[in-house]
Amino acid sequence: MFELIRFYNLFNTPWALIFSYTIFSLPFTVWVLTTFMRDLPIEIEEAAIVDGASPIIIIWRVFMPLLWPALVTTGLLAFIAAWNEYLFALTFSSSNAARTVPVAISLFSGNSEHEIPWGTIMAASVLVTAPLVLLVLIFQRKIISGLTAGGVKG
């Protein structure tokens, strides 16, 4: 991996992490989303076909609204995974500008070699959870299951 990053000249740039996180979270998100998509009733698609909807309209106006909760949920999970990732972030960056929060926190040092600044580390850790909490608060209305309830029987 490191060799590849060097080869493409991505070392110590945000792109190194963007690519590796995208590639690593893709299998997981695809897997989660396919289960959601399989649960969409086929009759709804057929009803839309009879109503005269083209495939693009079916995806945008019928399936996307139904998939929103799933997209938000998997998106949040992928975000959390990338946000908290440590190993790649440590390996692929060297300057303060390209570093991610977990790496930066781990590099906090005290006044002497023998002192670990627990107070500052804890304060920083709490602070970095803030964006997560914020995102969940914003999307909490969307993170609900059973949005398809009522469209088909049951």
Binding site: P41, E43, I44, E46, A47, A48, I49, V50, D51, G52, A53, I57, V62, P65, L66, L147, T148, A149, G150, G151, V152, K153
Partner: protein
């Protein structure tokens, strides 16, 4: 408004041929019911008409125009699904308006049509609600409303009542019948496995079995002149009693079929004797299950006031002229 002509329609899924050569004319304005046991291909046939499945062979035409390769939305059909298939995220109004919105109709025209349909089905109070806030019967009415708004030439119903409870089913059945009367001239095709629905709703019934048509006719024709043993057994509730061997021989047939209401209880000329297994009293009628030594019990309908105890001896005789005779191939030989 449209006459449908099916000519030697075939449909294969891989190597399995599900519809094996169906030819049928559905007259304009007719209420046609496809009925048959599960797996007989009736739903597939409806989906072929709708255009949701491609026809493997044969031609389908609406008013003389071949529509084999026409998209469902261009055929002038509307379909009501068994599971309603409403769009869960849209209000009832939007559900009904969706097709017209896609067709780029004007807002006023949409509003007028939706409100008219809602009025007809008495769902006007629910127009702002989401499907999940409705009961099963209301959802099914919205699904029917969505079909009406499309103003189709042909209505297709795919077992629309099978998700409803018994009382609601009877009520909705009545509404569909009323709908057919009020929409003068709309052709309707209705798929069901419930032969009571078929008998009560249909102008004509098409009985399917293993992908071929067994018989097409009015409910009364099918009831009184079944063209095969299968139709005789399928139409009518309770099932027609079939007797073979020594019971059938005097009639010159290999199998005879007698409906439960055409059997009299009491000794007399040509009476058979057996014993009562069970009797069901439904109030107005009672059904007596009699063991005649034939394996299957013979079901006899009787006045609801009579009572029979299990193991009681019983003699029964068929009414003259009401015995359906069939040869060994299951073909009819007429009544006697």
């Amino acid at each position: 408004m449209a006459e449908l002509q099916l000519t030697d329609i075939r449909k294969s899924f891989g190597a399995v041929e599900v519809i094996r050569g169906v030819s049928l004319t559905i007259r304009s304005g007719e209420f046609m019911v496809f009925v048959g046991p599960s797996g007989c291909g009736k739903s597939t046939l409806l989906r072929l008409v709708a255009g949701l499945e491609a026809i493997s062979d044969g031609t389908l035409s609406f008013d003389g125009q071949i529509v084999n390769n026409l998209a469902p939305s261009k055929r002038g059909i509307a379909m009501v699904f068994q599971s309603y298939a409403l769009y869960p995220h849209m209000t009832v109004y939007d559900n009904m308006a969706f097709g017209m919105q896609l067709a780029k109709s004007s807002k006023d025209a949409i509003k007028e049509r939706v409100e008219k349909a809602a009025d007809l089905l008495q769902i006007t109070p629910y127009l702002k609600r989401l499907p999940k806030q409705l009961s099963g019967g209301q959802r099914q009415r919205v699904a029917i409303g969505r079909a009406i708004v499309r103003d189709p030439k042909v209505f297709l119903f795919d077992e629309p009542l099978s998700n409803l409870d018994a009382a609601l089913r009877v009520a909705t059945r009545l509404e569909i019948a009323k709908l057919h009367h009020s929409m003068n001239g709309a052709t309707m095709i209705y798929v069901t496995h419930d032969q009571v629905e078929a008998m009560t709703l249909a102008d004509r019934i098409c009985v399917l079995r293993d992908g071929v048509i067994e018989q097409v006719g009015t409910p009364v024709e099918l009831y009184e002149q079944p063209q095969s043993l299968f139709v005789a057994g399928f139409i009518g509730s309770p099932k027609m009693n079939f007797l073979t061997g020594k019971f059938a021989e005097p009639y010159g047939a290999s199998t005879i079929g007698i409906r439960s209401e055409h059997i009299q209880i009491g000794p007399g000329e040509g009476a058979w004797t057996g014993k009562v297994i069970h009797s069901e009293n439904l109030g107005s009628d009672s059904y007596v299950y009699a063991d005649m030594g034939t394996g299957e019990p013979v079901i006899v309908r009787e006045d609801g006031t009579k009572k029979h105890q299990p193991d009681e001896a019983i003699s029964i005789r068929p009414q003259r002229g009401q015995v359906h005779r069939f040869d060994s191939e299951g073909r009819p030989l007429g009544r006697q």
